[in-house]
């Protein structure tokens, strides 16, 4: 029995989803509005800060707060991925093809990951640009730290992937899209809380902590694919679709 993963089938799911996103303005709007709500209020506060605040800011890493975006943005998309197809009636024809469950969930995960990471990086870049232009130069200099940029670049895909596996796992078990999306957001709140605690120095960030957290997330991301594939029950999904 050949059990290798077919990249062509994974690509087929990915490309299908990308085409669907392009034609569904609501999905794109949701992906962009949520990060903006996340970013605009803190930015307004930062723009109002004077040069005297820069010393205090230099001891914290408030921009790491933006890592909440990759934790939350893909959650709703991933939570829709399976239960949404089931409700649209498109799941049964797909599962009647030779596709394996690990190929299906991988295709779904990639199609949530790519736009989420792109949105998270874009919002981060725009935030840095806005800081450089509108914030007091001393405040901007205190906030724009190279290690924070590095952490943002590294942790964005790691957090997004974990969020996606949680969302897909919920989606395979949920019977309703709205319930799945709400549960998906709730399941990712712990990640957001940890990110906020680090950003506001309740948990002091260090290189050792960063490596340990990255290793843990990498492990969870790899295990997430296996676990989500394992709980993806073709029969349960088809019967529940009735």
């Amino acid at each position: 029995m050949n059990t290798t993963t077919s990249s062509r089938r994974v690509r087929a799911i990915f490309r299908n989803e990308m085409r669907d996103y392009r034609r569904n303005g609501q999905i794109v709007a949701t992906m962009i509005i949520l990060p903006l709500i996340f970013v605009i209020p803190p930015l307004i506060n930062i723009f109002a800060l004077s040069a005297q605040s820069a010393i205090a800011l230099g001891r914290e890493d408030p921009l790491l707060y933006l890592l909440g975006i990759p934790a939350l943005v893909p959650a709703t998309i991933a939570a829709f991925s399976v239960v949404g197809e089931r409700q649209q009636g498109t799941l049964e024809p797909v599962l009647s093809t030779p596709i394996r469950r690990q190929e299906f969930v991988l295709g779904k995960a990639l199609s949530a990951l790519v736009p989420s990471v792109a949105v998270a990086y874009l919002v981060y870049a725009l935030t840095l640009l806005a800081l450089a232009i509108f914030a007091d130069p001393a405040v901007a200099s205190a906030l724009l730290q190279s290690q924070d940029v590095l952490a943002q670049l590294a942790f964005t895909p790691l957090l997004a992937t974990w969020s996606i596996w949680l969302g897909i796992a919920i989606s395979t078990r949920a019977s309703d899209v709205r319930v799945a999306q709400q549960l998906g957001m709730l399941a990712n709140l712990p990640s957001v809380v940890v990110v906020a605690l680090v950003a506001y120095d309740v948990i002091h960030p260090s290189a050792r902590l960063a490596f340990a957290a990255a290793a843990l997330l990498l492990f969870l991301d790899v295990a997430g694919w296996r676990l989500t594939s394992a709980i993806f029950g073709r029969e349960r999904l088809i019967i529940a679709a009735k």
């Binding site: 029995m1 690509r11 299908n16 093809t97």
Partner: protein
């Protein structure tokens, strides 16, 4: 009950004692049959009889509770799911298309999922088969229900399957759209594709299928439509006259091959016969001798619907009893 598939020697689908339960509820029980390669096989039954569950079981979406099956030459086991799905295609009752995507984009996705070689050529050929080439770039959401069924059929044809499962392919279609789908299925049958067709439209089964089975949780009967009619109903002649006969008993009694008769409306008679070829000339002569104004004498044909209703009514009576 086991029956040999017919059109050619090879068996495309072989089912032995297959059952599926959902907890206490029995979807179908102890079903056995064979379907020959190239045969168009109809699976009839009322709503809830287990037709769709059989399709889902044989297409590896559901695991059987007991029994065995060979699908396109592969044993139906959990390990063989991918291999079986490579050789079959399923058109479910609801087309299940991505409505924001175009017809061609829907087909591209499934061509890749089935790893079809030269997908562009296959898509083109499938679209031509269902007469949809002109609509290839239309979003599926803009198509009528009949056209969406045709797209679903094109999608099922992409992988050139050995066995094609069609689950209620004309459900909810108007007569013209249903006729179009019938023509497509008939064309596939002529091409030699093995087709497993579930339906509760009896005229559809009678028109398209080489053999039919009637399922009502268990398999009630299986055979060619004309065999089923003969098996269940006595042969009969239908006689129509312009004016009712004064004394029908005097006309029909004692004629060769005539067993009994009964009235069928004010000027009609159904005559049970052992051999229509012997009885028909004798009945005609007797009518003329009696001075009757004969409108017609012909063999009374029971439809597949009569067979179906007879069996399903038996089940309902047994259930009530």
């Amino acid at each position: 009950m086991s029956h040999q598939g017919e059109r050619s020697g090879a068996i495309a689908l072989s089912v032995r004692g297959l059952s599926k339960r959902f907890g206490e509820r029995i979807a179908f029980d102890n079903v056995s049959f064979d379907i020959g390669s190239g045969e168009v096989f109809g699976f009839l039954g009322p709503n809830g009889a287990g037709k769709t569950t059989i399709v889902r079981t044989l297409s590896t979406l559901l695991a059987p509770t007991s029994g065995t099956a060979m699908v396109a030459g592969i044993p139906l086991t959990p390990d063989n799911g991918v291999e079986i799905r490579r050789r079959i295609a399923v058109m479910p009752e609801a087309p299940g298309l991505y409505l924001r995507l175009s017809v061609a984009e829907n087909l591209e996705c499934f061509a890749d999922l089935c790893e079809v070689a030269d997908p562009a050529a296959r898509i083109d050929s499938a679209l031509r088969a269902v007469h949809l080439t002109e609509r290839a770039h239309d979003p599926c959401g803009t198509l009528s229900k009949g056209l969406r069924q045709r797209v679903a059929l094109a999608r099922a044809l992409l992988s050139d399957p050995q066995v094609l499962f069609l689950d209620e392919p004309t459900s909810g279609l108007d007569p013209v759209a249903a006729r179009d789908v019938h023509d497509l299925i008939a064309a596939l049958g002529r091409k030699g594709t093995t087709i497993f067709l579930t339906t509760h439209r009896l005229e559809e089964a009678e028109r398209l299928c080489d053999r039919v089975a009637i399922l009502n949780t268990t398999l009630r009967t299986i055979g060619r439509p004309d065999e089923l009619r003969e098996r269940l109903f006595a042969r009969a002649l239908a006689v129509r006259t312009i004016v009712p006969l004064a004394d029908p008993t005097k006309v029909f009694a004692g004629l060769p091959a005539v067993e009994s008769w009964h009235g069928d409306g004010p000027d009609g008679y159904i005559i049970a016969v052992t051999d229509p070829d012997v009885a028909a000339p004798a009945v005609t002569r007797a009518l003329v001798t009696a001075g009757a104004d004969v409108r017609s004498v012909g063999e009374s044909r029971h439809s597949l619907e009569d067979v179906y209703l007879e069996l399903i009514d038996e089940d309902e009576e047994a259930f009530r009893g």
